[in-house]
């Protein structure tokens, strides 16, 4: 009980220290509000009219989760297809590195061209950024299964599809879950980036758009609120995936 209270106390103290340091820097350097708002000012900007911020956060969270889901399913399928034969693995796997290597900012205009402004392009951006870790962890997990179990399935006359579904994929679950956790964090980054370029302003403006709008109007306090909320969305998406994966993994615990 005492250890638990201490465990909670630590992060709280750290947050308090960070806020104090923030105020100290502002006061010491005598920074204007549009350069660095005070912690209190940021809180006031949020509490004054929280609704658009919360709606924006909800928008962004939805896009991030959707993009993550597409990356999760697509990544596992692509990873499985790649693992189906050595030849395909050697020839196609390097190609998937493109997802990792091409800077998102460089292809985001293309996404706008293909999907138009709005959610589809944002979701695509989130999916593209987060798919590679899923592919890589799927390929690694599928390749690392116990050859003894492979032999068992061969002896029992299992076909390739049955072996994939009943042996290879379940064996790869712990590895895939690791990839999914990384992807969850990246999906939020991809979402905010996508919103910078493809988001639309208005009633339901997502966080990325709120950041750019507030910046143009020198409302730096509103930028801070949006950024903090974006971090919150990232935590929430990651938390959902972490909890879901822990439930899924109970069967795999030894």
């Amino acid at each position: 009980m005492k250890a638990r209270a201490l465990g909670l106390l630590g992060p709280l103290v750290a947050v308090a220290v960070a806020i104090l340091a923030w105020s100290a820097v502002k006061w010491a350097l005598d920074l204007k509000d549009f350069v660095l708002p005070s912690p209190l000012g940021v809180a006031r900007a949020f509490i004054g009219d929280p609704e658009p911020f919360l709606r924006g956060a909800l928008q962004s969270a939805g896009s991030a989760l959707l993009g993550f889901a597409i990356a999760a399913v697509g990544g596992v399928l692509i990873g499985s297809a790649i693992s189906f034969s050595r030849l395909v693995e050697r020839s196609v796997y390097p190609l998937t590195l493109l997802f990792q290597m091409v800077p998102l900012v460089a292809i985001a205009p293309l996404l706008v061209l293909w999907f138009g402004y709005g959610r589809p392009a944002i979701v695509a951006s989130a999916a593209i950024v987060s798919i590679f870790p899923v592919i890589a962890s799927t390929v690694a997990g599928l390749g690392a299964r116990d050859p003894n179990l492979d032999e068992l399935f061969r002896v029992l006359g299992a076909g390739r599809l049955a072996t994939w579904w009943k042996l290879a994929l379940p064996s790869a679950v712990p590895s895939i879950v690791t990839g999914l956790r990384i992807a969850a964090g990246l999906a939020t980054i991809g979402t905010i980036c996508g919103e910078f370029l493809a988001g639309t302003a208005g009633e339901n403006a997502p966080l990325g758009v709120m950041i750019t709008t507030a910046l143009r109007n020198f409302q730096t306090d509103r930028v801070f609120v949006s950024v903090l909320l974006a971090a919150g969305v990232g935590f929430a998406v990651f938390g959902c995936v972490a909890i879901a994966s822990r439930v899924a993994l109970t069967k795999w615990m030894r």
Binding site: D146, N148, L149, E151, L152, F153, R154, V155, L156, G157, A158, A162, K166, L167, P170, V173, K251, W252, M253, R254
Partner: protein
């Protein structure tokens, strides 16, 4: 039901098998009667497992032949050195796997899995996971899986070698009882002469690599209960087997 015990239904004829420059099996001829229990004994690394794989159709001889059942394909169950259970499945689902891969419906195969678990005295453990069981229990579940499809041939590759002595004797007694009731053809690979004499009706002793038959002995008749372990007849049989093996080892050294 297999009834004709006079005709061999499995035979190696003059079979040889090499791996690269290593000759594992040299001109071995062996025939197995329907419903018989044979133990293949020899020094470790002598090629016993290769012979078992040839008999099971997992491998083919370089020269000579392996005759698996007159015209038809023999239904074969395997029991490996390790339990080879799927960690993410309950015992019941593990045991039902051969039927599942053969397309048997869920209700039917799970009922038969419960029946098979009862045969190996694991009736209460069907809903537990492999990691919750002792090594002996895992091996029992593996045995249940090997016999669930009612194979006419059961191949056992040092199945209890990794268990402690008491558990091993216990499982030997149960395996023997199971065979007496079901009367499948059983072929056991082991490096333990007492275990071979206890379980099987016939004991084939091999030389060091490449495997040649150096003795083909009938084991003592009689019930296999705990008292049998201290029986004089068992001792005589084991002595005959070990003398043949030691002679072969000495010849190989010369």
């Amino acid at each position: 039901m297999p009834s004709a015990t006079d005709a061999p239904h499995l035979a190696l004829r003059d079979a040889s098998r090499s791996f690269g420059s290593v000759r594992a099996v040299e001109r071995v001829s062996l025939a197995f009667m329907r419903g018989s229990f044979t133990a293949l004994v020899g020094p470790s690394g002598c090629g016993k497992t290769t012979i078992l794989r040839l008999l099971g159709g997992l491998d083919a001889p370089d020269s000579g032949s392996c005759d698996r059942g007159a015209g038809g394909v023999l239904s074969t169950g395997f029991l490996f050195q390790e339990p080879r259970l799927l960690a993410w499945r309950t015992l019941r689902e593990n045991v039902a796997l051969p039927l599942e891969l053969a397309g048997v419906g869920a209700a039917d195969r799970l009922a038969r899995a419960d029946e098979a678990l009862r045969l190996v005295r694991l009736a209460d453990a069907g809903s537990r996971f492999p990691h919750q069981l002792s090594g002996g229990m895992k091996m029992r579940a593996s045995l249940a899986r090997a016999i669930i499809a009612r194979p006419s041939l059961l191949l056992l590759d040092e199945p209890f070698g990794a268990l402690d002595e008491v558990t091993r004797h216990e499982l030997d007694i149960e395996l023997r009882a199971l065979w007496e009731r079901e009367r499948f053809t059983a072929i056991l690979v082991t490096h333990s002469l007492p275990e071979a004499a206890f379980l099987a009706e016939r004991m084939v002793v091999f030389s060091p690599r490449p495997a040649r038959v150096v003795a083909d002995l009938a084991t003592p008749a009689g019930a296999r209960d705990a008292r049998f372990w201290t029986d004089d007849a068992l001792g005589t049989c084991v002595r005959a087997g070990s003398e043949a093996m030691l002679r072969a080892i000495e010849e190989a050294r010369r």
